[in-house]
Symmetry: C2
Amino acid sequence: MTLDVVGLPEIEAVATRGLVFDAVRGALIAHAEGRAQMPAPIAMWFPEAEGDCHVKAGYLEGASHFGVKVASGFYRNAERGLPTNSGLMLVFDAGTGVPAAVLADEGWLTAWRTAAAGALITHALTPPDVDEVAVFGTGLQARLQGEWLADLRPLTRVRVCGRRPEAVRKLCAELGEAGLTAVPATAEEAAAAPCVITATASTSPVAPTEAFAAVHVTGIGTDLPGKAELPAGLFARATTIATDDHAQCLAHGDFGNAVRAGTVADDADVAAGLVLRDGVPNRAGLTIADLTGVGVADAAVATAVFRHLG
Amino acid sequence: MTLDVVGLPEIEAVATRGLVFDAVRGALIAHAEGRAQMPAPIAMWFPEAEGDCHVKAGYLEGASHFGVKVASGFYRNAERGLPTNSGLMLVFDAGTGVPAAVLADEGWLTAWRTAAAGALITHALTPPDVDEVAVFGTGLQARLQGEWLADLRPLTRVRVCGRRPEAVRKLCAELGEAGLTAVPATAEEAAAAPCVITATASTSPVAPTEAFAAVHVTGIGTDLPGKAELPAGLFARATTIATDDHAQCLAHGDFGNAVRAGTVADDADVAAGLVLRDGVPNRAGLTIADLTGVGVADAAVATAVFRHLG
């Protein structure tokens, strides 16, 4: 058996934003329409190393390949000069089960598909005239959410809220290099923005319900049990709640946290893929998107990259 | 990131039966003692290709690495000259989450750890003077179960039962080459052997309850939902039922099938690892082992192989 390991430079060469946007949009819509297999993910914890690892898999019916993704976050890696996130994606032939390629993407395809899913659903749910957003979080994903959303609509200003002023300044500078005007903001100032995106590893809400004046909020950080970004009370005000996967968001998303807090019914959500396909069911008032990251998006992106490799 | 893909020849050079036996025994005991993480596996189905794929993961507390295994069975591959089973194992650093190696084992490590688990528990539960076994099934795993058990105790005769006479003759010849005396047997003759091992892809019992005269039966083929090898009634006669994982065997093992048929209580099993550690709780009458294949064994074998590579 010959098994190709595809390194990051080769992956970067083909994984354009357009390719990732298309793959993620298609995957979310297929998933919403029941045309995809997406088993419950595997999660493991490594408390001594402050690490977690999850495995996600997916298959879009009729596709040539299926994908399995392993992604880890080890939060003390920075101390030793290693990236926090790593992982890889595996592509398998859906007709024979034979491994086709190992995409040694160092976690980047996960980062990009998360950026794409966030930007797509934020753009779909936010009124067209909104050109100012706030991001909670100062990590890679906070930056990507700003940059990828700016690909879909013009942004005049990005408010950046984080715990460490140095990290906030760094992210503002990075967003500036990407052509965006970014300014530091307190939690109150950020929550008061018309569109809010949370991209943190938080285990408690980033701001209290009453601080939010947004017409749209996207939460993308509750990718594993124990995490929380949005206050439960916020969901009581929402007219539309979009989830990337009903079961996952119920299990460990902010939507599930709100359901357990009793502020929203457990069937109050609509599939993000249906919003992308059909538009917004109800844009009056507040819309919320709760994204936990779906294996079908991983599989679709990995397959698309694999098929575009020379 | 440099990521080594280790091919089968390199793996074969270090994965001795001794290494695999030790790793699997240690993994089953650690799992039984609660010293391992083993999340529920991922399963996917590809009906058009008669294929299935499962992903298993495991981590033994304190180990240097953890493992993720992808294994597929595509049952029309033989028509096109491809092996039915394929897959690979991934080894990750448990301190950083960084991928350490891809073991492109073409499914062999799964085959060997399954052989080891079956032989270990069959040997532990079968009275020492029993030197004749029957195997149901004529595939690779039926052969390995005979060969690996013969490493642990002398076997004077192996009865082979399968649906296709040609496959039965082939397996008898292969076992003969491995130094064993093997003879074709009907289902009745096989079930009447003192020790029976089932290694089939069957979805219904291989023989009726009343046909079994064995003092020990090991079932290893119910690795995915929908499969069945042992009749539910057999469990009513068992004095000891060993499972490699209580939840998995309840979910899709023959033990679970028997529980749902009402012939045995859902807490009637003992962990296989405890039998390996402490010996047999009760050898009077019939003992049964229900093995569904555990991710901790995959992780332990993959880690052991990785650490022994040059």
